[in-house]
Amino acid sequence: MSLNKVHSTPEAALAGFLHDDMTIMSGGFGVCGIPAALIDVILDSGVRGLTLISNNPGADGHGLGKLFKNRQVRKLICSYAGDNALFAQQFMAGEVEVEFNPQGTLAERIRAGGAGIPAFYTRTGAGTVIAEGKPTAEFDGHPHVLERGLRADLALVHAWMGDTEGNLLYRMTARNFNPPMATAAEVTVAEVETLVPVGSFDPDHIVTPGIFVDRLVAVGAINKHIEQRTVRPRPLAAEA
């Protein structure tokens, strides 16, 4: 807790928070809305034995993918890992442990971790391998699985805009896992594309209230990677 949450570089924003064998949550869906600049600080720090909580392991050479390449990761808690060949190789070789979650269960576990809910029942995964070893109970005539809330030592989030109080706004589908993760760690650090003075936002529009953000840093409109560039032909009539 410090009065001034704003730091001038990603390195400064993470100073003192990184150590071997820690658990880190990282926002993003694929490489959309990932805290790329903060991940680079983890890469440069060389901390190892990490447990990462993220929907995906990033892409080859992008986001968390860099940490796998640098062999800093011991375990990944995710929902989908399919599109990262290097990660797949490490996983199949047993070099990285993986815990697969249904995507909604992963999101809800993180939301629960941040909201003081240690466990909840969900119908998702009942009767599948996901339910193995977990308590089950019947509600409304259907079997349900007991899932645990999930927390981390550190959450890294990417937001579109932030104010000096740490209030955050997100842009389109770059929001994804960032807001629930911001609530679910001992320490939350946010990178924002644009930093503005407190009072700049309509308080009805704020998605992540500043209480959840310990430190933040402006990283500008960084060069964002697109995994699947799909387009449609522009109709001729529209060419003015």
Binding site: F29, G30, C32, G33, N55, N56, C78, S79, Y80, A81, G82, D83, A88, F91, M92, V98, F100, N101, P102, Q103, G104, T105, A107, E108, I110, R111, T122, R123, T124, G125, A126, G127, T128, V129, I130, W160, Y170, R171, M172, T173, A174, R175, N176, F177, N178, P179, P180, V207, K224, H225, I226, E227, Q228, R229, T230, V231, R232, P233, R234, A238
Partner: protein
């Protein structure tokens, strides 16, 4: 003659109703978005945090912050709203989406679905499929009837399950099955496809009520 992928999507689109909120899986199901009948209002949900998904952008207008659950660049509509992943799956799990159209590796006679992993092959992950089949009110599988000679509609799934008794209807390139309490009911055949051909390519007995 089997239905083409486009014809399969068009057949699946007949399941849409005015005002429906719908989630489409990757692969053939994505094509259903192009088959919404004129005048019908359907909103597509993308489970990474969007309701009201628009078409692919014009070249040069792609935005890295606007993708669908298949990680493809897309666009917004006037009706669009964005939300976080926990809210998105609250919407799915809470039964607010009327219809999901998904691909499958195997479907069983009682509607069990397997669509996420094949033992011995690299596990790509689960994604949102388990949540969709657990929460969405009506689940339709849209897939090729057989895959590389292998039968996909079976008595019991041999692959790891995505959900138990979750599929309501199966639409393939050859036919349409309803999943009823007593098992599968064949209700439609693609032009020129016979019941015998279906029987030879289906791993479980079924009733027939063509209409």
């Amino acid at each position: 003659m089997p239905w083409t992928r486009q014809e399969m999507a068009a057949r699946a689109a007949e399941e849409l109703r005015d005002g429906f909120y719908v989630n489409l899986g990757i692969g053939i199901p994505t094509l259903v978005a192009n088959c919404v009948p004129p005048g019908m209002r359907v909103q597509f949900q993308s489970e990474n945090g969007m309701l009201g998904m628009g078409p692919f952008p014009y070249e040069g207008e792609e935005d890295a912050d606007l993708i669908n659950a298949g990680k493809q660049t897309i666009t917004s509509l006037p009706s669009t709203s964005y939300f976080d992943s926990a809210s998105s799956f609250g919407m799915i799990r809470g039964g607010h989406i009327q219809l999901a159209i998904l691909g499958a590796l195997q479907v069983s006679a009682r509607g069990d679905l397997a669509n996420w992993s094949v033992p011995g092959k690299m596990i790509k992950g689960i994604g949102g499929a388990m949540d969709l089949v657990a929460g969405v009110r009506r689940v339709i599988v849209l897939m090729e009837h057989i895959s590389k000679g292998e039968i996909k509609i079976v008595e019991q799934c041999s692959l790891p399950l995505t959900g138990v008794e979750v599929v309501n209807k199966i639409i393939t390139d050859l036919c349409v099955f309803e999943v009823g309490p007593g098992g599968l009911v064949l209700t439609e055949l693609a032009p020129g496809v016979t019941e015998d051909e279906i029987r030879s390519k289906t791993g479980t007995p079924f009733a027939t009520q063509l209409h």
